[in-house]
Amino acid sequence: MRGLLDFFRDFRVRPEVGKISMWVGISLGALLLVAFIVLSVMAGSPKDAVYMVRYALPHMHRGNLKVGDAAPDAKLFALNGTDTFHMRERASGKPLVLVFGSFT
């Protein structure tokens, strides 16, 4: 216990370590700033960049489907809300284009 107390009493950050830490911090800060600026330009404004990170990124997925994979099936609703159909029903024996999107 006494040894530990002595260690902390005598602990000093060596000047070169302090300097390196400072530059690492500055570099990381600069990188974050650049990333935020790039994101703001991509999204349209700083506010859009924040919203993009908050609302869009959690829902963006690359997925693991590849060309040649069997197309997954899913049940979809017709516009009347009562009828349903499976995607595979529409793909039997002919090519099918899937256009995914939302109104907004």
Partner: protein
């Protein structure tokens, strides 16, 4: 599927400009209402399906916010587009289909509403007789 820019999340100026303002649907009725507004506004000419609130299609195809696929005659993925909006490329799909199944001439079409947000991105022409668009 899940809205990309609803009023209660990341609404954009273009949503106001184009009068496309909806809250994120909390139930299937809300989602169907938006889908019906869309098809009516643009006279959407191709078969349309609405993902359930479990987002099964979206999850299976990593589709959000927008993405294009072509499935071949055997039910396999023949083309997988990039994630929209930056890599959403209908022209690439048209080229792919033309290369695989031959060029199809479509009459010149103009969007019904020039302020429509995606009128030119959606396949305005009638679907190829050899293929269907879901």
């Amino acid at each position: 599927m899940r809205e990309a820019h609803p009023t209660d999340e990341w609404q954009m100026k273009s949503n106001l400009k184009d009068d496309v303002c909806y809250a994120q649907p909390k139930n299937l009725s809300d989602r169907l209402a938006i889908a019906n507004d869309f098809t009516k506004r643009f006279n959407y000419p191709v078969p349309f399906g609405v993902d359930g609130m479990n987002n099964a299609a979206n999850d299976a195809y990593a589709a959000w916010p927008e993405r294009l696929y072509i499935l071949d005659e055997n039910g396999k993925i023949a083309y997988r587009g990039g994630m929209g909006p930056f890599n959403y490329n209908p022209a690439e799909v048209r080229s792919w289909l033309a290369a695989r199944y031959g060029e199809v001439k479509h009459p010149e079409t103009k969007p019904a509403d020039s302020t429509a947000p995606k009128a030119q991105e959606t396949p305005a022409a009638k679907p190829d007789a050899k293929s269907s668009i879901l």
